[in-house]
């Protein structure tokens, strides 16, 4: 078995909810005790409903948020303890593509300048060398060189996404965390963007963490997938296995909810009731029990741990 390029152990990230007087009146457990390994070259999918902590997980790995607990190992180095200088070196190899690429570009900078920036920060290349590098990347993501002189708001959403990617790829990172890279795109554009991700992975030998709430996209893109629910991974395993034989009731309901064109109409008898509880005020025990058809007393008392059964791990007392 190959060595994991990125390992996350019992990662925790809580946000304080503050009331008047700046008093801490609770916390949102956005990421709570999450562990997984990322293998080189794979596309690791992360799915879950909105607010379940996918972005927070990604950003905590990146060091944008400080973890409240746990460890992050990258290339044999524990990176959550690094100081600013060390982090910068890590960042060359670990990059984060924002959910909204338009917003991740400085609205007052031309595209070209934004693309130069990572090279200015991390390398000593001169203007011409940088320009050459950028044009190569730009070509790779399929953008005309004329776009370098435009402002972010002057190009379309799909193009902004490409620019965001180009900006990240200039540094030739090893791992890229793609946060909802296709949300808000029309299917026709989404299809082209997705194939771009694939070809870039080939070209640059990238490893992706692919965050999305769209199961169809995950299924198409990822080799392995983790399902998150309210800050926890409830099920993890190879994509085919998860999609064919989901073990956790939440995964099942997710799969049941996506319309399947040509298949039976799921809305006729969709069985999941209710909505996710308030993340600031989680139920005791298993977080899913308030909506789970299988829930019993034990689920309210104990929190099930993520346990491996074969290649698949599930956090449920009654899997299957």
């Amino acid at each position: 078995m190959t060595e994991a390029i990125l390992s996350v152990r019992n990662l925790r990230r809580h946000f304080a909810v503050r009331g008047p007087f700046n008093r801490r009146i609770g916390s949102i457990k956005a990421v709570d005790d999450v562990s997984f390994d990322l293998m080189p070259g794979e596309i690791f999918g992360l799915v879950g409903e909105s607010g379940c902590g996918k972005s927070t997980l990604g950003k905590t790995i990146m060091g944008i948020h400080r973890p409240n607990g746990g460890e992050i190992w990258f290339g044999g180095q524990q990176i959550d303890l690094l100081l600013a200088a060390g982090q910068r070196a890590v960042r060359r190899n670990l990059q984060y593509a924002y959910q909204d690429p338009g917003a991740s570009l400085d609205p007052r900078w031309k595209i070209g300048r934004s693309l130069h920036e990572p090279l200015i920060i991390h390398t000593a290349l001169d203007q011409a060398e940088r320009e050459a590098g950028i044009r190569k990347i730009l070509e790779a993501v399929g953008l005309p060189g004329t776009h370098l002189d435009l402002y972010p708001h002057e190009i379309s959403g799909g193009q902004q996404r490409r620019v965001g990617l180009a900006r990240i790829l200039t540094l030739h990172p090893k791992v890229v965390i793609l946060d909802e890279p296709t949300s808000g795109l029309d299917v026709s554009v989404q299809a082209t963007v997705l194939s771009l991700f694939r070809s870039l992975r080939e070209t640059f030998q990238l490893t992706y963490i692919f965050i999305s709430h769209d199961l169809a996209v995950i299924r198409m893109m990822c080799s392995r997938v983790a399902v998150m629910y309210l800050g926890r991974i409830v099920e993890m395993g190879p994509t085919d296995v998860i999609f064919d034989r989901p073990q956790h009731p939440y995964t099942k309901s997710l799969l049941a909810a996506i319309p399947k064109i040509g298949g039976v109409r799921v809305t006729r008898d969709f069985w999941l009731r209710g909505e996710p509880p308030d993340p600031g005020n989680l139920p005791s025990g298993c977080r899913f029990r308030t909506r789970c058809p299988k829930a019993v007393d034990r689920c309210a008392r104990e929190e099930p741990a993520l346990e491996a059964t074969g290649c698949q791990s599930v956090a449920c007392f009654f899997p299957g």
Binding site: M62, A103, S104, R108, I121, H122, R167
Partner: protein
């Protein structure tokens, strides 16, 4: 290209153009006061026999209580107004903006404390503190400028602090940090340019406010000492002649009005042009 479009938009904005025209008028008046004024020596020279003459073909705006030509005095007064507004606001900017930027970027208890202090400054009307300081130092233009700067910097600190805080949560700033950019780089190259428009807009309006405050100080007798042709002081002088010499108060009052109006219009126009929210709204396809 975007820049040229901004200029075009600016020229199309009637209010901003008018505002610029008024400010240019002020600057021209200040720079060329000795050439433009019909009686340049009247700034300090008196003709007691000609006092309180209504506007006529010689004294276009009439004469004051010492018989000096009001038009000449108002033109020279523009110099004082410019000096006060530009230096006071400039100093406050130079002090307030970096403080606000750094405090907003780093946060923490020190900047909280700083913000509290500026809150306290802002809790009292600027003019009250300014009066106290101006009185402390004695009336002179320099001291008015000093008083206004001392009381005005917290305003900028506040503004820049708040803008910086909110920008720090913007994705593009976060992404620059994630990219590994140094704090200095983020502050100067990403945050500052993005709050520049807010600062420019508020500066323009702040100029107007400062001119009004300075005039109020002059009015209360705390501004430039006589015979300086400071507009607020001229209005104060005119008070006792109000019923007989209507022109006496009218001329400096309108001068103040036009200049402040100029800065306000310019500020409004700039806001429409520079405010990224509005521009995004219109620029989006």
């Amino acid at each position: 290209m975007a820049w040229r479009r901004a200029v075009q938009r600016f020229l199309r904005d009637r209010a901003a153009t008018l505002g610029t025209a008024l400010i240019l008028l002020l600057i021209v008046a200040a720079v060329f006061a000795p050439i433009l004024s019909p009686f340049p020596s009247d700034v300090a020279d008196f003709h007691t026999a000609h006092r309180l003459r209504p506007p006529d073909s010689i004294n276009w705006l009439g004469t004051d209580r010492m018989g000096s030509d009001l038009l000449s005095r108002i033109l020279f007064g523009a110099r004082i107004t410019i000096a006060i507004a530009f230096i006071a606001v400039g100093t406050a900017l130079v002090v307030g903006v970096p403080i606000g930027l750094v405090a907003g970027y780093y946060g923490g208890w020190a900047s909280n404390l700083l913000m509290r202090v500026s809150d306290i400054f802002l809790a009292v009307p600027q003019i009250v503190l300014a009066i106290a300081i101006a009185q402390t130092l004695g009336p002179s233009i320099e001291n008015v400028i000093l008083a206004l700067s001392i009381t005005y910097w917290p305003f900028w600190t506040r503004l820049v602090y708040a803008e910086t805080r909110s920008l720090k949560n913007e994705v593009f700033v976060e992404s620059a940090i994630a990219l590994g950019a140094s704090p200095w780089r983020v502050m100067v190259l990403h945050i500052l340019p993005n709050i520049a428009s807010a600062i420019i807009v508020r500066t323009s309006i702040g100029m107007g406010v400062t001119i009004l405050t300075a005039a109020a100080l002059g009015f209360l007798g705390l501004g430039a000492p006589p015979p300086a042709p400071e507009w607020g002081r001229m209005i104060a002088e005119s008070r006792e002649f109000l019923p007989e010499a209507w022109w006496y108060a009218t001329a400096p009052g309108i001068a103040i009005f036009m200049v402040v109006m100029g800065f306000n219009l310019l500020g409004d126009g700039l806001r429409d042009i520079l405010d990224p929210r509005i521009r995004r709204g219109i620029g989006a396809k």
